[in-house]
């Protein structure tokens, strides 16, 4: 017998023995979807939903049960979002929305404010709480956004940055250059989205303070490159050329058009793009490898984010993290995101970049960009990365490589 049912029966017996209107308690016990055990069971059913539709029917029943209940379930539902899988999270968040929408008058700001205040909760769940809080209390942005420039929620941080940018633009419009510059710097300290970073950088540049965008985002600029290897007919993606087996920067190998060896390359492009046509050879049906040594000050988890229109495989310290045999399907910053663990000291990132033989003009691209960051997209820099401006930095990098 389910635990909740036995509790209801126990309640019934106790009530009958006391002679206090057992019928009323039976009704409450059986119909009360707000009852904590019922809520916990329903949440568990939803959290069990899995791939390929597994558990969907039970999750649907649970969703119906929860949305018939009251607002006192909201704290449990919000907490349940913390480690729910993405499918279960959607059941839970839509249940929260449905309950909150049904009981607008009974909602308390405390539920959402308390949850939002605890930064260890899931970022998206906190954003959800924030949005309900804003509906209930329109003063919320004014009160809370100034404290959210470094928030783990990228959406909350974005709104916080936007407010500072507005303030900076106001100073700029008023001719208050020093105040504007200071405000833009504050905004930049929290900015992680490219559109905001670009806008801030443009404003600061205009105010005489150029921004090293590659450094801000954490794009790797120093690379060792080798290629081309053969990819005619697409054979290169699966082929395990020597750099996949061993990284030896002094070695030379048979390439597609003759012997190849590792070359040093520094990207001077604003967003760390590496044009392999320029760096290696303008040729299609080719494979290149790019390797970089990343010096981690301490062991840590990182995200490696890269963008490319070419097919790729990526390794961190010899471990294959991902492979994508996709050619010429858009080109965006952070197009691929993989997670890995860096050991303290030197770590090796290797990216295999394959160009196919498509002949369309838009397919004549063989390039990539790659950065290391945390889960919010904030740059994680190699401990030996020079702390200088973009032009000077590239000179310094070149000097060291030379």
């Amino acid at each position: 017998m389910p635990k909740s049912h036995s509790r209801h029966l126990a309640m019934l017996w106790a009530t009958a023995a006391a002679g206090l209107g057992a019928v009323i308690f039976v009704r409450v016990g059986l119909a009360d979807a707000d009852e904590p055990d019922d809520t916990a069971a329903a949440i568990q059913q939803i959290r069990s939903v899995g791939t390929e539709g597994a558990g969907s029917e039970a999750a649907t029943d649970a969703w119906r049960q929860l949305t018939r209940g009251g607002v006192d379930q909201l704290p449990s539902l919000l907490v349940a979002l913390d480690d729910a899988n993405p499918l279960a999270a959607n059941y839970l968040r839509s249940a929260i929305d449905a309950i909150a929408a049904q009981h607008g008058d009974a909602l308390s700001t405390d539920v959402f404010a308390d949850f939002l205040a605890e930064r260890t909760h899931a970022p998206r769940a906190r954003r959800l709480a924030y949005e309900w809080l804003v509906r209930l209390d329109p003063t919320t942005p004014d009160r809370l956004l100034p404290t959210m420039l470094d928030d783990p929620s990228v959406e909350l941080r974005r709104d916080a940055v936007a407010r500072v940018m507005e303030r900076a633009a106001g100073h700029e419009d008023a001719g208050e250059s020093a105040e504007a510059k200071q405000a833009y710097r504050v905004a930049l300290s929290g900015a992680i989205d490219r559109d905001q970073v670009d806008a801030i950088a443009a404003a600061l540049d205009k105010l005489g303070t150029p921004v090293d965008l590659a450094r801000h985002f954490g794009f790797i600029q120093r690379w060792k490159l080798i290629g081309p290897f053969d990819n005619v007919g697409g054979v290169g993606f699966a082929a395990e050329y020597p750099p996949e087996k061993q990284i030896d920067f002094a070695a030379r190998y048979d390439g597609k058009d003759g012997e190849v060896g590792w070359i040093d390359h520094v990207s001077e492009e604003t967003y760390g793009n590496i044009d392999l046509y320029q760096a290696i050879k303008r040729e299609n049906g080719t494979v290149a490898y790019a390797a970089t040594q990343f010096l981690a000050a301490e062991p840590r988890d990182v995200e490696i984010r890269y963008g490319t229109v070419n097919a790729t495989k990526i390794w961190l310290n010899g471990e294959l993290l991902d492979s994508n045999e996709v050619y010429h399907a858009n080109d965006e910053m952070d197009q691929y995101i993989v997670r890995g663990h860096m050991k303290q000291g030197e770590n090796t990132i290797v990216l295999k970049v394959c160009q196919n033989e498509q002949e369309e003009s838009w397919a004549q691209v063989w390039k990539f960009q790659l950065r290391v960051c945390d889960e919010t997209g904030t740059a994680v820099l190699s401990a030996d990365r020079p702390d200088t401006g973009s032009v000077a930095q590239n000179s310094a990098l070149r000097g060291r490589l030379n």
Partner: protein
């Protein structure tokens, strides 16, 4: 005689209780109206309306959060639309609007579980949702498939890219689902993972799944009736194949290169597919290969799907030209230059073809004769990439930001 009077009274009473005569109206239940094939039933919507947000024949306009290139559907007295929002385009919205007033009845929001990159002109809300009259099946470019009952109750949620993480196209995906006999059919075709699946409308479980070519594809499945049964057509770069919607079993195929954006359309006698320009296939396949009836290069469509009406085929070519072809022979009969470019598949009501270009210019074309004529041109002021819906003489237009209802004003009671 008294008995007769009593009978008449009873009949009159029954009629009074039943209310006014109800004229059956067709819902618009999916991309191109589902089985309506882009041709509306019933009264004809206005052929002109005011430019801007309000005015002549604009019943209402409702802004919707986020961006959308998916079409509206109308089930009963409710219009349903989807949109996507957020800097990362990862917030998915399904909104139910009162068809009479445009007021939001309910809305549901979800977090995308798949890839959310897309071309700037598109949106993660690109596929048009489908309905079986009891539930809404909303698919997004992220390959999230949501089943909501008509009142917004979540029936089930599938993350098809959560199941198959390589299923994604960073240009964006746009294939709209179809519903047949308790199965919602999705066509997910990308360079890294491709499949078509039939998913149980009641439970969300996969009933069948078949591999599809590893190529990017944006065509939507098309449901036709063949030999008294429903058949679903799946079109991709390598050809077009007919499948049993309940099992996925392939029934016949046409194995020549086809376009990967405009979807096939069917008539009583043939299937029209964008291949070699435009190809007409025999409706009843004899054996496992389709019979080619005709092929006409000059009827090649651009991005929007062809429309068949009476004995003509209407095709918006890449340059914005409307080509009219003879359905029996494939002969191109007439061309009319419109203002393009077009993404939205046009719709027909009465003798009018309603075309909406990417810049939001509506062009209503009289197609009552083989001399098509533009009868009105309206600047909507917002980009339109979605095929509109028409129900009961009411035109529902989805711009990237808003939903409009175009309808003649109701006559006031005498």
């Amino acid at each position: 005689m008294r008995v007769l009077r009593v009978v008449i009274r009873c009949v009159l009473l029954a009629m009074a209780l039943a209310g006014p005569t109800v004229v059956a109206r067709a819902d618009w239940r999916g991309f191109r109206g589902g089985e309506l094939g882009s041709v509306a039933q019933g009264p004809v919507p206005p052929t002109s309306w005011a430019a801007g947000d309000e005015g002549e024949n604009i019943a209402w306009k409702t802004p919707i959060e986020g961006r959308s290139v998916s079409g509206p559907i109308v089930v009963g007295d409710t219009a349903y639309v989807t949109s996507s929002s957020g800097y990362r385009r990862d917030r998915l919205h399904i909104v139910a609007l009162d068809a009479e007033t445009g007021d939001v009845r309910w809305q549901r929001e979800f977090w995308a579980t798949g890839r959310t990159f897309c071309h700037p002109t598109s949106a993660v809300a690109a596929p048009t949702p489908a309905s079986d009259g009891e539930a809404i099946f909303a698919l997004f470019s992220s390959n999230d498939l949501v089943c909501l009952e008509l009142d917004g109750t979540l029936r089930w949620y599938r993350g098809l890219a959560y199941d198959f993480p390589k299923a994604g196209n960073d240009v964006g995906m746009s294939s709209s689902p179809v519903v047949v006999d308790g199965v919602v059919i999705v066509q997910i075709e990308t360079k890294a993972k491709s499949f078509a699946a039939g998913i149980d409308t009641a439970t969300g479980q996969t009933r069948w799944q078949i591999d599809r070519p590893l190529e990017s594809n944006w065509c939507s499945p098309t449901v036709i009736e063949q030999d008294g049964r429903a058949v679903v057509l799946l079109q991709s770069a390598g050809g077009l194949a007919a499948h049993d919607p309940l099992t996925g079993e392939q029934l016949w195929s046409f194995d020549e290169p086809c376009a990967t954006i405009p979807s096939a359309v069917a008539t009583d006698k043939s299937v029209l597919v964008a291949a070699g320009g435009m190809t007409a296939l025999g409706r009843s396949a004899d054996g496992d290969k389709a019979e080619v009836l005709w092929q006409e290069q000059r009827l090649a469509p651009g991005s929007s799907s062809p429309v068949v009406f009476r004995d003509r085929i209407y095709v918006l070519a890449r340059g914005g030209v409307l080509n009219v072809g003879d359905l029996a022979s494939g002969e191109r009969l007439k061309s009319l230059r419109l203002k393009g470019p077009f993404w939205a598949t046009p719709v027909v009501a009465g003798n009018y073809l309603y075309c909406f270009n990417q810049d939001g210019v509506a062009q209503v074309v009289d197609i009552s004769t083989d001399e098509p004529e533009i009868v009105s041109e309206i600047e909507m002021g917002e980009s339109v990439l979605a095929s509109p819906a028409i129900v009961d003489g009411q035109l529902y237009i989805r711009s990237v930001d808003s939903v409009w209802k175009i309808a003649a004003p109701k006559r006031s009671a005498p």
